[in-house]
Amino acid sequence: MKTLLIKNGLVIDPANNIEEKLDVLITDGKIEKVTKNISDKETKIIDAEGLVVMPGFIDMHVHFREPGFEYKETIESGSRAAVKGGYTTVCCMPNTLPPIDNQAMVEFINLKSKQVGLIDVLPIGTITKERKGEELAPIGELFKAGAVAISDDGSCVANSEIIRRALEYCKMFGIPVIEHCEDTNLSTDGLMNEGYYSTLLGLKGIPKAAEEVIVARDIIIAGEVGGKLHIAHVSTEGSVELLTWAKKKGINVTAEVTPHHFTLDESMLINYNTNYKMNPPLRTKKDIKALKDALKNDVIDVIATDHAPHAELDKDVEFSAAAFGIIGLETAFPLIITELVSTGILSLSSAISKITINPAKILNLKKGTLAIGADADITIADINKEIEITEDFFGSRSSNSPFIGKKMKGSIEMVIKNGKIIYDKGVLK
């Protein structure tokens, strides 16, 4: 019997309302006991004095680029990045080449994930065939093969009829439809938020309306036909208001925000640094305030990274030619601690719920909890330790991050996956 005992840590398990100094005993890859003063002479003991013990984090929105763009990221390098960020489960978006729009592709991701063997990389299938927005993908087939959600992320489903049918059809499987909200008629050729800074820099703007009209459309459709709608990477105050309204009406909608959207604003593009170029674009300080409030009020349920690796050749080019997006797995936790917890916007427990139990519930995963019998996926962190983000720190194959050189609080000290230590003080096992 293989056992592991984590002693003296502050256990935060939002799923079970636990926030207490407790010991955690792990046996055969499962949580056996979470209580005070466990002593067991046969076990390997981890002293977590002064540290926080949490369920392994879940990121429901990453791009691991495999297959098709392995020069940016692979399932292996992405998994390494995830572990360094404290994540034990991630869901990878299907905008690969070819896209994850059939059973074989879902099985490929599952197979690769097992081969790498670090964490659970769960596939998200497409909504439409080839992500073209024209015909529904074989959603039942994708689900049976193991897809945990469907999304055409990177593109919006422009046709309202198709998003309606997707929501209706998915009710049979209980999986969420994740929408990338962008009316491309409004955002074509756009490079950054439309406003003072786009005027200043002479870069074509993306109006907030491009996001908000689709958020509005989708929640209205979901209100009528049901289904589980999840709004990816919310970036505007208007979207928050629409979500608030929808939730009040009892519409089954959930939403996520990325760490960069609640941390960075459009003014940071002033030097045309392409590491601030993302879609949706960085918005204004006012939007940041609204996003933080929405996290606090649980209008936004989830923090997801939208980890979007790009190589230098995709980023070190003319601003218009540069790819959208940044990597985010390694910097998410320190940003959550620094921007949300240290500032008192979220309690530690509430913050952790948004990267553990909340996404688990949306995706129907038996994860994100330290309940007895649950998989022993555990992340141990020092929330007071300051770290400096450096290129060497990244597990990702890419280093397109605007946070390089920044100092933040919140250091991942250890990651345990199925009862096995896979990361210990900066070292992948």
Binding site: L201, L203, N271, D316
Partner: protein, 311 residues
């Protein structure tokens, strides 16, 4: 003191702008005499890299460089070769390998001159980037206004047309407001970029109110293809609402100057009578362009230290 790059009028001080204008006056004197050449930039290599077609600005820079005795080369970059996969970084390496002193760059993407200036040893002069800035055009407009009016501070200047897509407008706004002019932008509401009033300008969508009692009207070229993007319904309607003709010009001050960065769409944004009329300084803008660019090249091309050695 010399400065290294000229990326935009946003980045340079009022004093620097004044220095350029003063020097340009001396250079205008040089180019009006029989021998239009001085030896200041002897031995320096200046390269014109135009990633966007332009005869006027390129020729103006070339003349300016040659009249300063620099070796001026035009690197004709077919946009096709860029498409084929030559990245900006390759361009950077090419420039470095050729030992160029000053790179003059025009590019359709905002921010490219700044990008280059951070990666190469040579000085960079922005000859127009995307919708961002066209600093030498701004300077030559200001120089022309100053030459005619004797001052900039307190003048009312209306910039009329497609403000949204105009780097000329942005450079004019920065330069003119720094020197104390009161700047108005006038155009259809679809072509006024968001929050432009935060740059310290007044916005008008009624051209008759916009040009009332102004000292200067700077008329921008309207790109006819904007119509296809639904930014205005027809060329005819644009000409009717925003085209400056003799009638509308009467609303401005009697001695109001008319500027246009060229090339003009006669009969659309500017009527032929106005373009060729007594208030037009459009041809002088071209002459002044060379003088102003000589001043910019002169300031950027020389001076390793700040010390003054006047004997």
């Amino acid at each position: 003191m010399a400065f290294k790059h000229l990326i935009g009028l946003q980045d340079i001080s009022k004093e620097d702008i004044e220095t350029i204008l003063d020097l340009a006056k001396s250079f205008k004197d040089v180019i009006l005499r029989p021998i239009k050449k001085v030896p200041s930039l002897k031995g320096k290599t200046v390269v014109n890299m135009f990633f966007e077609p332009s005869t006027r600005t390129r020729t103006s820079f070339e003349l300016a460089a040659k009249r300063l005795s620099a070796d001026a080369v035009n690197l004709a970059i077919a946009t096709s070769s860029v498409v084929k996969g030559e990245t900006l970084l390759d361009t950077v390496k090419t420039i470095e390998a050729m030992q160029i002193d000053i790179v003059i760059i025009r590019h359709s993407v905002s921010g490219v001159p700044l990008y280059l200036s951070k990666r190469i040893k040579s000085s960079v002069i922005n000859a127009g980037d995307g919708l961002h800035e066209h600093p030498t055009q701004g300077l030559l407009d200001i120089f022309t206004i100053h030459e005619k009016k004797g001052k900039i501070a307190g003048l009312k200047v209306a910039i009329v047309g497609d403000i949204m897509h105009s780097r000329v407008a942005r450079s004019n706004i920065w330069g003119l407001t720094k020197l104390g002019a009161k700047v108005r932008v006038v155009g259809p509401s679809t072509l006024i970029p968001r929050d432009i009033e935060k740059l310290g300008v007044e916005v008008f969508t009624d051209v008759e109110k916009g040009i009332k009692d102004v000292d200067v009207i700077n008329i921008l070229r309207i790109q006819l293809e904007r119509q296809k993007k639904n930014l205005f319904p027809t060329i005819r309607e644009y000409a009717m609402l925003f085209g400056i003709n003799t009638e509308k010009l009467k609303l401005a001050k009697p001695d109001c100057l008319v500027l246009h960065p060229g090339p003009m769409n006669r009969g659309i944004e500017i009527s032929p009578n106005v373009a060729d009329g007594s208030q037009s300084v459009i041809e002088e803008q071209v002459t002044n362009g060379v003088a102003v660019r000589m001043a910019v090249l002169y300031l950027i091309g020389g001076g390793k230290k700040d010390e003054d050695t006047s004997d």
